[in-house]
Amino acid sequence: MESNTCKQCRQFFPVPEGADDYQAGKADCVIEKEDEKGKYWLSKPVYETSQQCEAFRMKH
């Protein structure tokens, strides 16, 4: 079975054209986390063809 790619994830936010780090297919992967100290969000660069990770959440 083929695995999903980052592009299909709800946490995939394409880098807008004109941004300093714009590349076709590049996006910010933004994940919400929470621990005993509270909520926080992490953002790391990904590409639409990257294979899904364990935090993958399918877009509706």
């Binding site: 880098v15 807008p16 300093d20 780090d21 621990d35 509270g38 909520k39 926080y40």
Partner: protein, 864 residues
């Protein structure tokens, strides 16, 4: 249970002084829980932020919060770039390394925060620096805090071994000498092995110009240099200089562009969270405001106080934690932020807010620093017990024309510190007699609340030092007389220039420690360390039988000191040599006007010399000299051989003899026997020998006596000493502080003793512990103010205070969970008392709690 204020009264100038609390409601607070009642965060948000603060404090080398670990991203992306850039100029490789970390690293945004940015991939992590010290990384790999995956981290660390600063520098030294330094008992280990560093970033250019303007400057300089290189007639003796310059400017451009893109990634993150995760409309709007700020700055000049805070924090992260590790938080914060405070608070031109809005921003800044983790080795975690790292900012003082530099931003910084009650960042106040009363009152409010800061520095002495060091400038561009007023503490104690150029960029200029107590111990054993390392720790300076007079002992010590000192400073300068070849800092260079103008790396360019080194444990050595002179050579009660026999038994079986040595005159009592000897020890040997050395920058090196937590660490490695101290006991806790509990003649006797040391010193830390009831009484400010004016007139460099009762300290030892807000001054930094190991806590309790007698008040000329 004792009440806070004792019933004490004092007769003074025909008046009866009652020391009742200035705030009558405090009379009902038990003495042993006072500090738990003093915090008053200015907003509900800052209270929440403090309650959930991700402290990174360490105690006995272990992180206190269990979730804290090292991250891997910085080392991973730095290494990836290093491998991919083989063959390119080294400074370009350094810039590409920074860019790769910033482009690929994970960003962090936390709930509630307004000042954003972090230096690792998770708010519970901190980065590591294998290019600085592979030994420090190895230390983490062997611990519970290891970066994961550990195998990848191990491979990265192995990769860096041949490329690290340590590998570059070590071949130029005798391993026997380095082996002595690695004991960290007579000398601190060389910085090329520890990776420990400090810096004063030129924040001013970032806030005033913005990085886009810095890029334009570099581009213009490249065009100019290329033009010179193609102009007839070619001159190879000067033309080739342009190669390095062009590479440096190119690297600066790469670095600045990467920082702008990184800040704008933060802007996107805020927008994404506002639009996709956050449901509270107020927070959504705030996130969009933060996004707007991060889109504009640090690319563009700052226009308001929120801009300035954010630009400053991003710059701090790059200069202190991402491009290279550096301890500290050096900046003249009130001067730096004043134009933006004025724009936002007074003129309401941009980001309008009231004064309390500024106070809230500073509280949030303090909490961001409290969360900042530093990837220091275990040894360096141990020597700052109770803290995460050293963070010290400076306020107050005088302007270039000598007028008062205090402003409403100064007051906002101090008020925020008092309200939020965090141990870090520490604050230095430059005390001058022209400082305005309202700001002095804020200084006092912080001091009497027991924060341990502001620590107070003498404004005139610091300014005079900047002028003196300026004379040695190798490019004749040291601080002008006006710029000499622009100084801050670089780290705990030593002043250095702040501003757009001429600031200190590396600890190889000033910093590092030497330990006179251990040197005295081995002087009595022909250079051999019998009590700790069991090795020859210094040169052979004579068997006891050859030390026939006190002068012989004195001169033997001098030789030990000279040997250790030469090694300390030469290792720093060799580090500097290689730092500028392999550890360039293109971002720091880009924001320094000198580096930008000259096309030089920040490690290489030295316009304002600022050489210093930290003697720590000097008073144990000096008190020991006094005891030796009195009991061995003057009174001839014992021979040196008998003394050494007792010492080697750790005084066991020699208690009566130990008490005699312990009762010998001690520093801090205005004693006519001890003080001349100790003054000479400071001025002739500690400072006099150090001044003979010339460092990389062309200036002399001067002593900056301050102990951090090393007075405990090195005390534990120092055998019994002739001042009556047992082996392993803590040493003296300051740079010129009396040994704990031995200053028994009151606070003004301490001032009189300390004021005698004037020649050949750069800075000397003076710890004093003041009476809580007196400081919190209606007379507290007047007494403190008179004390400070007297201190100023006596030309003493520094003083800092603990204002906390023994009852409260002991209660906190019994029930630490109830005393989370109890802060104490350790040495050059403050810490939560409950985060300090018991050994260290006991050294604070043992410090003499100074009361004020009528004669003290008379000496201070207190007008009540």
């Amino acid at each position: 249970m004792n009440q806070m204020v004792s019933a004490k009264v004092l007769e003074y100038r025909s008046k009866t002084l009652n020391f009742t609390p200035e705030d009558p409601t405090e009379a009902k607070i038990p003495a042993e829980e006072l500090h738990e009642h003093l915090q008053k965060p200015s907003t509900a948000r800052t209270k929440r932020l403090k309650d959930r603060c991700r402290w990174k404090h360490a105690s006995a080398g272990e992180f206190i919060e269990k979730s804290v670990t090292a991250g891997i991203e910085r080392m991973r992306y730095l290494t990836e770039a290093h491998k991919a850039s083989v063959g390119q100029p080294q400074v370009i490789r350094r810039a590409l390394g920074l860019a790769n970390v910033l482009n690929k690293g994970t960003l962090v945004l936390q709930q509630d925060e307004f000042i954003i940015g972090y230096h690792a991939e998770d708010p519970n992590m901190f980065p590591l620096y294998p290019e600085l010290s592979h030994m420090a990384v190895q230390d983490y790999l062997m611990s519970d805090y290891s970066p994961q995956p550990a195998k990848e981290a191990q491979e990265i660390n192995e990769y860096w071994k041949p490329h690290s600063l340590q590998s570059k520098c070590q071949p130029y030294f005798d391993m026997a000498d380095l082996g002595r330094m690695y004991q960290v008992s007579s000398m601190e280990a060389p910085s090329f092995a520890s990776g420990y560093n400090s810096i004063v970033p030129p924040y001013e250019t970032v806030l005033e110009d913005g990085l886009l303007a810095r890029i334009k400057l570099a581009e213009k300089n490249i065009v100019q240099a290329q033009k010179v290189m193609t102009t007839f007639p070619w001159n190879g003796t000067t033309g080739l200089d342009n190669i390095d310059k062009i590479d440096n400017w190119k690297a600066m451009i790469i670095a600045c562009k990467a920082v702008i893109a990184w800040a704008r990634r933060h802007a996107r993150l805020c927008r994404i969270v506002a639009e996709n995760f956050e449901t509270d409309p107020k927070r959504q709007a705030e996130l969009l405001e933060i996004a707007d700020i991060c889109q504009r700055i640090p690319a563009e000049p700052c226009k308001g106080l929120k801009d300035a805070m954010q630009a400053k924090f991003f710059t701090f992260l790059i200069c202190h934690a991402i491009e290279r590790y550096a301890s500290g938080y050096a900046q003249k914060e009130d001067t730096l932020l004043w134009p933006y405070y004025k724009a936002s608070v007074i003129d309401k031109k941009f980001q309008p807010m009231d004064h309390m809005g500024a106070v809230e921003l500073v509280e949030m800044e303090r909490l961001k620093i409290s969360e900042h983790g530093a990837g220091k080795s275990r040894a360096y975690r141990e020597i700052f017990p109770g803290s995460n790292d050293l963070f010290i900012l400076t306020v107050g003082g005088t302007k270039a024309d000598g007028s008062d530099a205090c402003n409403d931003m100064t007051d906002a910084i101090l008020e925020a510190a008092k309200r939020i009650r965090t141990a870090e960042p520490s604050i230095v106040f430059r005390y001058s007699k022209v400082n305005r009363p309202q700001t002095l009152r804020w200084v006092f409010n912080c001091v009497r609340d027991g924060l341990g800061y502001p620590s107070i520095k003498h404004d005139d002495i610091g300014t005079a030092q900047m002028k003196e060091f300026s004379q040695y400038s190798l490019n004749h561009n040291g601080a002008t007389d006006e710029e000499a007023h622009n100084w801050v503490n670089v780290l705990c104690m030593s002043p250095g220039i702040h501003g757009r150029r001429k600031t200190q960029k590396t600890r190889s200029e000033g910093g590092g420690s030497i330990f006179p107590a251990k040197l005295l111990e081995i002087t009595l054993n022909n250079g051999y360390d019998w009590s700790y390392a069991d090795m020859q720790l210094g040169p052979k300076t004579g068997e006891l039988s050859t030390l026939k007079s006190f002068d012989d002992v004195w001169e033997a010590f001098r030789k030990q000191y000279q040997y250790a000192l030469n090694l300390c400073i030469s290792t720093k300068d060799v580090s500097r040599y290689f730092e500028q070849r392999f550890l360039q800092m293109p971002f720091v260079s880009s924001i320094d006007d000198g580096c930008m103008e000259l096309g030089m790396d920040a490690n290489a360019l030295s316009e304002q010399p600022n050489g210093w080194h930290n003697p720590i444990t000097t008073i144990v050595a000096a008190n020991s000299m006094v005891a030796i002179k009195k009991l061995v050579f003057d009174e001839k009660k014992y021979t040196l051989e008998q003394l050494n026999q007792a010492l080697m038994a750790n005084w066991e079986g020699y208690e009566e003899m130990r008490l005699e040595f312990k009762r010998a005159p001690k520093w801090g009592n205005d004693d006519s026997y001890a003080d001349p000897i100790i003054t000479k020890f400071y001025e002739d040997i500690i400072g006099g020998e150090m001044r003979k050395i010339t460092n990389y920058s062309g200036g002399p090196v001067l002593p900056t006596g301050q102990a951090v937590g090393l007075y405990m660490e090195v005390g534990s490695r120092t055998g019994p000493t002739p001042d009556g101290r047992f082996g392993g006991e803590a040493a003296d806790d300051g740079g010129i502080s009396p040994y704990m509990g031995t200053d028994k003649k009151g606070p003004t006797a301490v001032l009189r003793s300390v004021s005698k040391v004037q020649k050949n010193q750069k800075a000397n830390l003076l710890n004093q512990r003041l009476s809580v009831p007196i400081m919190r009484s209606q007379h507290g400010f007047d007494i403190w103010h008179s004390y400070m004016d007297t201190w100023f007139d006596l030309k003493i460099d520094h003083v800092q205070f603990n204002v906390v009762s023994t009852d409260e300290l002991k209660a906190a030892q019994r029930e630490p969970e109830k005393h989370q807000d109890l802060i104490v001054r350790v040495s050059g930094y403050s810490a939560r008392f409950v985060d300090i190991p018991t050994y260290g806590q006991n050294t604070i309790i043992a410090r003499q709690e100074q009361d004020f007698s009528a004669s003290d008040l008379e000496f201070l000329n207190v007008d009540i």
